[in-house]
Symmetry: D2
Subunit: 406 residues, 4 copies
Amino acid sequence: MAERRVGLWLIGAVGGVGATATLGLSALRRGLAEPVGLTTALPEFAGLDLDAPAEFVVGGHDIRQATFADAVQELYKQSHVFSPALLAGCARDLDDWSANLRPGTLLGAGETITRLGDRPDLVRFASARAAITQVQRDLHDFRTRHRLEQVVVLNVASTEPPFTLTPAHATLAQLDTILDQPDALPASSVYAYAALDLGWPYVNFTPSTGAGIPALAELAQLRQAVFGGKDGKTGETLLKSVLAPMFAERNLQVLSWVGHNIFGNRDGIVLNNPSNKASKIRTKDALLAQLLGYKPQSHVSIEYIESLGDWKTAWDHIHFAGFLGTKMTLQFTWQGCDSLLAAPLVLDLARLALFAQRQGQVGVLSQLACFFKSPMGDDDHHFGRQFAKLVAYAAQHHRTPPVSVS
Amino acid sequence: MAERRVGLWLIGAVGGVGATATLGLSALRRGLAEPVGLTTALPEFAGLDLDAPAEFVVGGHDIRQATFADAVQELYKQSHVFSPALLAGCARDLDDWSANLRPGTLLGAGETITRLGDRPDLVRFASARAAITQVQRDLHDFRTRHRLEQVVVLNVASTEPPFTLTPAHATLAQLDTILDQPDALPASSVYAYAALDLGWPYVNFTPSTGAGIPALAELAQLRQAVFGGKDGKTGETLLKSVLAPMFAERNLQVLSWVGHNIFGNRDGIVLNNPSNKASKIRTKDALLAQLLGYKPQSHVSIEYIESLGDWKTAWDHIHFAGFLGTKMTLQFTWQGCDSLLAAPLVLDLARLALFAQRQGQVGVLSQLACFFKSPMGDDDHHFGRQFAKLVAYAAQHHRTPPVSVS
Amino acid sequence: MAERRVGLWLIGAVGGVGATATLGLSALRRGLAEPVGLTTALPEFAGLDLDAPAEFVVGGHDIRQATFADAVQELYKQSHVFSPALLAGCARDLDDWSANLRPGTLLGAGETITRLGDRPDLVRFASARAAITQVQRDLHDFRTRHRLEQVVVLNVASTEPPFTLTPAHATLAQLDTILDQPDALPASSVYAYAALDLGWPYVNFTPSTGAGIPALAELAQLRQAVFGGKDGKTGETLLKSVLAPMFAERNLQVLSWVGHNIFGNRDGIVLNNPSNKASKIRTKDALLAQLLGYKPQSHVSIEYIESLGDWKTAWDHIHFAGFLGTKMTLQFTWQGCDSLLAAPLVLDLARLALFAQRQGQVGVLSQLACFFKSPMGDDDHHFGRQFAKLVAYAAQHHRTPPVSVS
Amino acid sequence: MAERRVGLWLIGAVGGVGATATLGLSALRRGLAEPVGLTTALPEFAGLDLDAPAEFVVGGHDIRQATFADAVQELYKQSHVFSPALLAGCARDLDDWSANLRPGTLLGAGETITRLGDRPDLVRFASARAAITQVQRDLHDFRTRHRLEQVVVLNVASTEPPFTLTPAHATLAQLDTILDQPDALPASSVYAYAALDLGWPYVNFTPSTGAGIPALAELAQLRQAVFGGKDGKTGETLLKSVLAPMFAERNLQVLSWVGHNIFGNRDGIVLNNPSNKASKIRTKDALLAQLLGYKPQSHVSIEYIESLGDWKTAWDHIHFAGFLGTKMTLQFTWQGCDSLLAAPLVLDLARLALFAQRQGQVGVLSQLACFFKSPMGDDDHHFGRQFAKLVAYAAQHHRTPPVSVS
């Protein structure tokens, strides 16, 4: 079983999340880190035939020129995370895997992301179709060179501006009629198309469109591919999905929920553009109404504060009425390092998507809801129930006991 | 069905929690308040044949001389809760029910609580047996005068110092041999004994001993009575039971959990006595190890700060390690009015205990775990799972559809 | 000396600040409250011949129809402040003084404020001159009817949108050439013109333009009038003016200062209009550069959250570098009731402005800097130094000792 | 002038504060750091003839065996402070200066500190006199070997248990009669005696007794030495000394002030011993009454939470009454790295003490009040006034302009 070799292909590979996931994969395979933060390392998932860290090879697309080593050094210096020993111990893997980086596409990524693109070999594609073709070529090449049995494509790039679906996105046939236009699909969907068309799993860790297009769901069915998303639930929204149920289940009435998020990483620069920010706020704010059964006044802000680096700080102020109309308050401050909260979930998702595909699942991976701010295939944002569903899924898919005669 | 009449007998009736529960019951029956904060008012419990507010009569024991009206006025002035309209609308009920107040017992309640006792008619009982007899006389009298079908005895008094069980508490027969001593049982257990011996439900909303004695569990079986407890989960501990599972289910490692609680009500005066405080801290701190699967460093403090009145403010600082050993922090500040958080749960418990007894249940009410810091009959502190169990219980006990001909 | 009678004329009289200042004045004269929150009640100011509460009569302009009693009742119900006893004890004064309310002008007050105007007798003036004339008529009438020796005009109305000065505002003569136009002056400056032209003191507690026009400074000189402002420093900005000096004097380098303000009173509705908000944020943010000597990244947000009522909650996150570049954090949460923080300062300003005029001062009251976010006549925002200047001013103006022969 | 050579002799040299001050001195002399956090680097002090970093040699006593390099490595790993480049650049200085470390004395340091002592060459002195003699020998040797013009002795060791003064501590003559006893003086006073007796400056950065003994003040006069202290004001108490004046100067009534401090460095282990903690809490709590003019209810706790390392986190909850009795709240959370807050102040104090001695000052250095929680020679805790006094002192001691001819 140790022979299996799989690939993790990251879109936005040298961003904070991508580079940290890559570093972490190396650290895990070399025994330099414990799997703290990985859901799949919990005892509940011990019975699943998931890929071990040592079985992974990493590659990816990016529009920036950095290597994995550059990216983790930047995080190390700016945000005081990682230790020199860890960086040294993983240097070789990072270098090897940096050779697998390829220029990404900027189609529909919006002005702010485009400005960050500094690879000299970036191609300005004339059509979505041309971009898809090139992406598929890169993916094929990666798989072949490393003799991989499976590859999962995982989007950890910065948030795109909102993309409006048109009737042409309703079916695969209709989508085909516009694919020769350059703005037929946003970049995240170009990658999703490329992966699903190859029959490979695609997971969207961002709020961008990705596979969230009817035509792509059709494509996944056609190619027997799985997909999941979207927008990793790492901090403030995770807390919302844990605390809002508490208010609901105690029948306390949330009057207002205000959340202020500040951070200073590259994602922050992108989200400082109001159009990119709009995508993000939408997914951070929607869950309250579902969890509470009514819509309290709410406010979410996201501000780029350079000095914070990757340390995302969220202040939430929850004003609620208790018995006899008494107004009370819960405030919390969350100080988490974004890339390090996200990276283990990225590894979880890669493992679970590859596993699901091997199990013959097709279409949306609704069992992954607990990982996402906007879970595809499951409307329930209640974290406790989401986690229970994943545990139940795991219980159903335990390996047959290897040697049993009776 | 509207004919049913039931009684709520409160131990510590004119404390903040007791008086607020009483005021709230009046407000609900008169339509002056919404049932915000009542778990049993959630749709999940609509199918249960619970007693309506209008069916309740309130009485109770206390060691202080105040009426219900005095008690709510004190809260109103000190803590700026309730509205004049609400107080006016409920004045009549409070007066009527104040007539049902009887002097409590101070047996084993400890020095600080004893100092608060100011009723001129307080009796210093010579033995636990004598105290039980008097309590039962009061309970009987209440039931008879108001022609009640059932009465639930609910302890909302201040926290007693820890009580050490001896071999004599192991069985009912052995307990009988020491009942003529004055210190055989703490006050909370005197009331529990009295209620259970009558076959009536007893619920302990405090961390005091109450029915938590093997001999009393035996008594409940003998008399076919139900009991539940202990220590209402209203604020900081509720949050712990919601947040600790999040850390566990994300495989984040809690390094330390520090909780500081400050408040200024009469409970605070009692808890300022180190011996009473010890009982409380024990129940606030124990759940982390169960929920996380390991014991992080933890610290809980409770301080009496007079100016806060009934507004309990808790600051919790949770330090945790994420992926690659990165230390992160969650802090929260909870500003809740203690009596108003507790009172609706008291009403929930009264309704659910009376219902369970009607259903023929005997012994510990393990379905009530979600209400308690130290749930009797259920070791699991995970709030989500506790609530799910109560919902499942409700689903099993829905009224048969009314298929009625008459 | 007790014969002296003075008037306090409030612009925006029945807003939260105006009504609370009025209630407070009544409470002080009737001995129903201590002068907590009044700077002028400190021992340092005991030697000044300031007007006692009993010497004041209150009147004012407003565009809303409410009486003082309506306004304090609204605050009482919405924000749980004041006690019924206080309201009852002051009811007579509030009624008497409500008779002195007159319809205000909406000239240049902006769309959102205009929408709040509900007095049936509001006049739509054809020119600034016409508005000034009417305001002066109201002021004169107030003074005459109550036989007042002095009247101070104090602006506590909602924040206007920013007003752009033109060359025509540079001198009184030039201003005169445009006064027949309706948009020559914003409402706050109409009132300032009216007061100063009468030789009366004018104080601007808001960020609106008020007397902040060169032509009006000239008018004050001409009429021997005093004026002061602007924008009362009550909460978050007060803290900034106290904490920023600490960082500067410890040579700690502020990297970023983020301030989020949420509240739900009528001012909040007005500030929710981006154009009105712009005026406010400007004055809340400017002081950092002056106090620190450099401009850190900063962000100030103000959001209207209805459930909070008059309880303004501010969360500030200050990120700073210490020795050897170590980044550290100070966060604070301020939960203050806006009207009750502002009202005592309004009374201080009224007393100090009336006193200054009696002392023969002319022009800007630079000694009042400690009261304002944007102090006129003093560029220094350092609260400690501002307070020291006021104390020094008081020391210079102590009454001559009453009986001294030598 | 560059020829001047001075010594900084640290008591508790390889603790977090001592080692960081040493590292910082090296970093400053090598141009590897900006003087952020140093008061004496502010423009107000540019005119003083203070010793430049390059003029310092470091030595010290400690009871632990570590070198400076060990100590900074421990901080680096445990608390994620410093950069590898900084550590590398300063390694040579740290090694050189580690050669100047000498075994300290444990006389009267208390049980917990004693347990930390692990140098094999620690001497158990038979009397205070013997300890003083050895300390003076070490000091002399340091000065001679490095040909230093002046040496300042600065106590940055852990907090001792409270020491009770007896009549024998009242005068130098009486003290002499008990010096042959082992418990005549606590360790901090042994060092103070040794330094002052040599006529050298002694500064106490801790709450321990140090020079705070009448007999030692007499000794300082006799030997023409200066001394200062005590207990560096670095975090929570600094904020108190800034915020309490704000409440006082706004005439807001502080009802209660609760401060909870948590941290996990070696000082924390020592302070976890209730007897050592008592000394610390005393100095953290005393200033409120002086600053406010009355004593609000207050509570200070200090808890050792290992995971925090050197990151001291303080949560303060300030409850205050505003106008008309309205209760409001300010909360703050301070997250500062203790050693890095303290170290620059240590360098400031060394420079200012050496300077004062050169200026011929004798006795207590009351101009240093802004640096201390319990300033000797100045009862005023108001940070703004303390800082202003230091600035005034500096203005009086500016160098004569260099009368240059060119």
